[in-house]
Amino acid sequence: MANFRSIYKIQVFLTILIHLTVALYEDQVGKFDWKRSFVGKVKFVSFEAKRIIVATEENVLATLNLNNGDIQWRQILEDPSNYQLELLHVNKDILTVSGVRNNWLVRTWNINTGTLLAEWVINAERTVPSAFTIINGKILHLVPITGSHLEITTYSFIDHENGVLKGVTRIVSAPWLTNISNCVFAGLHYVCVGSNQLHFINLDQENSKFITKPLDTFIESEAGKIILIEYKHKTPSFLMLSNNIAKLASIVDENIVIKPFDLMPNAVNVVGNGKDLIYQLEANDNKEKLIRIKVKDFQTGADEFSVDLDYPLGLGAPIILGAQNRGSSSDLLLSTTDNALLLVRLPEAKILWSREEALSNIVATEFFELPISELDASIEHEFDNENDIFGMFSHRISTQINQFYNLVFGNKLLQNSGLVRDEFGLHKIIVVATRAGKLFALDTLSGSIAWSYRLPNIQPFLGLNGQEQMLLYVQRTAQFAPLPAHCILLAQDTITGNGILFEFDPITGYSDKGIQKLPYRISQATLLLQHDKNFLKPLLVLSQDNELYAYPRDAVSVIKDHFSTIFLYTANSETAILTGFTLKYSTENQMVVKKSWDIDLKPSKIVALGVKPQNEQVHSQGKVLYDRSVYYKYVNPNLLAVATISPDPMHHNVLSIYLIDGVTGLVVYGTSHKRAKGPVHLVHSENWLVYSYFNERFRRTELAALELYEGHLQSNSTAFSSFAVSQLPHIQSQSYILPLVPLKMAVTLTERGITNKFLLVAMSSGAVLEIPWLLLQPRFENMPCGPEESCIPYMPEIPMHPEAIINYNQTLGRIRGIEVAPARLESTSHILVHGLDIFYTRVAPSKTFDVLKEDFDHKLIVLVLSALIIATFVTKKLAARKALKQAWK
């Protein structure tokens, strides 16, 4: 109890410290935060003098600096799951067509500033996949009607009403037409391949018809399936690909002329210096220079020159996106299978810059503590050979001399490798897995990439609400020197859907086993707390047919005594059934999972699941009420929060929140919101849950907080057991208006859980707001609420102070996740916000109470102290003199 009072004192102290918002000072900008901006996987590209205009699959339009690859301006268009860019056309201004099905937005942009010039709408009747092109300043929309005809609608920019373009449609008979993917544009022509026939039409002419040519007149009949590839050239040309060999075909006077030479599938045309050249990439036998750029003459196919490219090893196979000739040199823009973007300058074949666009879509994140420096590690070795006293003595003396040397002359080791743990654990490595299947390690100090590793043919799991995620588990941290840290990535095979397991050292990226393909599909995985003799925490993976696997495999012997206390659960979003499993009946030889409970939420749909952070520490066990009695928190580490939405004829949608014990399956609490719809974001921490939803009745986003208490008696104070249910928790709840649209929510996490908690809300505007938990904590009814109780009076609308925006004016595009990790400094949390941009910062919810402020003036304090000391001596002397004088009087 006495202990409790002291904790309470700390809490009050911290509460006084916080001033609701803990804002940055302007001079702190960029001191510990950084931001990296991305555009996504490039879909269309256009070179324009000193810049490259890119349109990406993230539905982003941007211009990149040709010389360094920096983003000059970037416009984020609509959500890529609803809208896709279909056309990029550059002619003085940039014209884009983006949209989906039958609604299209046509926009023109200023090439220098990225300002919108004009915007129109195209509403088509048909919803089939279609193609756009621009001919003579008019947009042509080509809609294929399978087995019947092609509809060509011409939109001119003059003819519009209220921004909606009006088109003139003509129908061209094409009974052979099956799929638009068999067709390409070739200059003003549109070319399609049918069965054994090639069809093309001149789009520029009125009333033109498809001209049909039999394929076998220019290609051997046994060539197999023929794919057409676009090839931009002044004469209408295209590539015909069969058996991975491309032939260049041109349309000349309503006839197709095939060039006699073979090409690679990705060949581009570059015109310059009076030459008409074809650039293509070939694989090279040379191990050091994997890629060869070959240049051929357009007319003859003769090799002009070829140059070997010093291609970085970590990147995937490249294709040429575009090229331009700039007098003596020419530039090639390459895109790789792992979404990197490279600019190669010819003729010297130098990679001018590269952009890792895979980072624009992160699906898993983990923070890693760095290993201690070699010097610190050597101290730990002192007792390795205990018998040799002289050896130990000399060892200690030498390390201490080294320590002293480092103290005086600065740490050379730290400067050399850089990746060494610092005093406060502020320097960490963030390992991120991207959707493209590439792992990156980011340095928290600079944001630079420490290492990257490409895993071919892997894809993320599809979670609730179509959220893509991979799983990263920390099996061993860097604390166990000399053993390196150990991390596991779980993902899915793109082809089979089976599990992929990748073990690696998060600090160096080294993997001794490489990619391991698992013979089953993964349903659930969990990391256990026990560790084996190598300090590895065993990872349990549950397959979809309820078989259990442990990694490392011999870890079963470690966990065999704990089988009866290991429980798993799965949540099926399709059937809305939650199932609990027990490992009780496992033996060392065979692990069996047996169902122990189930919950059937039908006819509702599970939309969100909230689990507590595994490494969370709950410091104070209760809340001190105004009468100095303690109200104990209900801290159940096994508690799950489940949000479901059920369509309801009366209330449109009903949102229900259930708190379920993951071990027994007991529904601890349930609550429902009528006329509420998603997106639902859950934040579950300590003894509380915060969730956001959209209130359809009042058309506003609301935030609700639930807090669970055991009451004035604590039931199982030593260790929590889900089986021992002595009483159901008391629920305090309160809800608020959130005057913004949240995209993601998270809560700060600190080492010991003493520091106050902040809720981090990523908004649709691109800002990340911190809201103190104290502001949301449900107020007790009939109890005073004031600073003495560390309670803020209730306000229905959560105030939005711009000072509480942790990324200040660094607006972030399309935020997909907020990741939080504790620093070794109790006051501080690491925050990584990712989406189209990556933003890293540190937050201190109770201010940095455990370190001196950075603006602490050491000089002033030394000055004041020395002045005081001098003054003391001077006055002493003066006083003595005075006393002497007095005595003589």
């Binding site: 229900s656 259930y658 027994t664 609490y669 609700a704 709840s733 809800s735």
Partner: protein, 226 residues
């Protein structure tokens, strides 16, 4: 002693919240339990529970006393620290059927002398979502030996639990508060509720100190004069 307190808490929890059940309904629950233990247990009938009105939450429990053989089985389960599992088949009044599994530690059930609690959770429409068996206890156990005479009959308490109606942001009282403050301001009687002393202490204090100094010196001055 403890048990009564627990029951009170469980019960008092029920009426203190408003429930949002829209249509009343009934449910019949067929309970089966597994007394054999092991990874693949055999379930046999335990009894029937009828909930006539979900809104009122009253349940009629129909369970027979345990046969001698079953009692021994429970004793064995408890001794071996196995799980006691029940399978509940819930038939709602619209005829739909759902089956739920729930497990407790057999030793806890035995220690509680077969006094168990059945929690029936319903969603806002009255669909059943979960059936859980709960033993009211303050601690968990790792196997125990309970005499057979204490394992006679289940005394089952059934708790019908609905979802709460969630709170909505309390704007009305806030607006009222704001208006009250505004009215007060308009009337002009917004007094700085700090006391005179609290406001002007920094001016008063030096004066007081001077007074103190003078009063401390005065007597001596007078004394000196005398």
């Amino acid at each position: 002693m403890n048990w009564t307190a627990i029951i009170c808490i469980l019960i008092s929890y029920l009426p203190c919240h408003t429930f949002s059940l829209e249509h009343d309904g009934s449910a019949i629950i067929h309970l089966q339990h597994a007394l054999t233990g092991g990874p693949d247990p055999q379930f046999k009938d335990r009894g029937k529970i009828t909930v006539n009105s979900l809104r009122i939450g009253q349940a009629i429990v129909d369970q027979k006393p345990l046969a001698e053989a079953d009692r021994k089985l429970i004793q064995k389960l408890a001794r071996e620290n196995d799980l006691y599992r029940i399978q509940a088949t819930v038939i709602a009044n619209d005829g739909s059927k759902k089956t739920f599994l729930s497990s407790v530690k057999a030793c806890m059930l035995a220690e509680a002398e077969l006094d168990d609690r059945l929690s029936l959770s319903f969603d806002y429409l009255g669909h059943i979502i979960g059936v859980s068996l709960v033993i009211a206890s303050k601690s968990s156990c790792e196997g125990s030996d309970v005499p057979l005479e204490k394992l006679k009959e289940f005394t089952t308490n059934v708790y019908v639990r609905h979802t709460d109606t969630a709170t909505i942001p309390d704007t009305a009282s806030y607006i009222e508060k704001i208006e009250r403050e505004r009215d007060a301001k308009e009337k002009g009687d917004v007094k700085d509720n700090k006391s005179f002393l609290a406001k002007y202490w920094m001016y008063i204090l030096p004066v007081v100190i001077l007074m103190v100094i003078s009063s401390a010196t005065n007597p001596e001055a007078q004394g000196g004069g005398q």
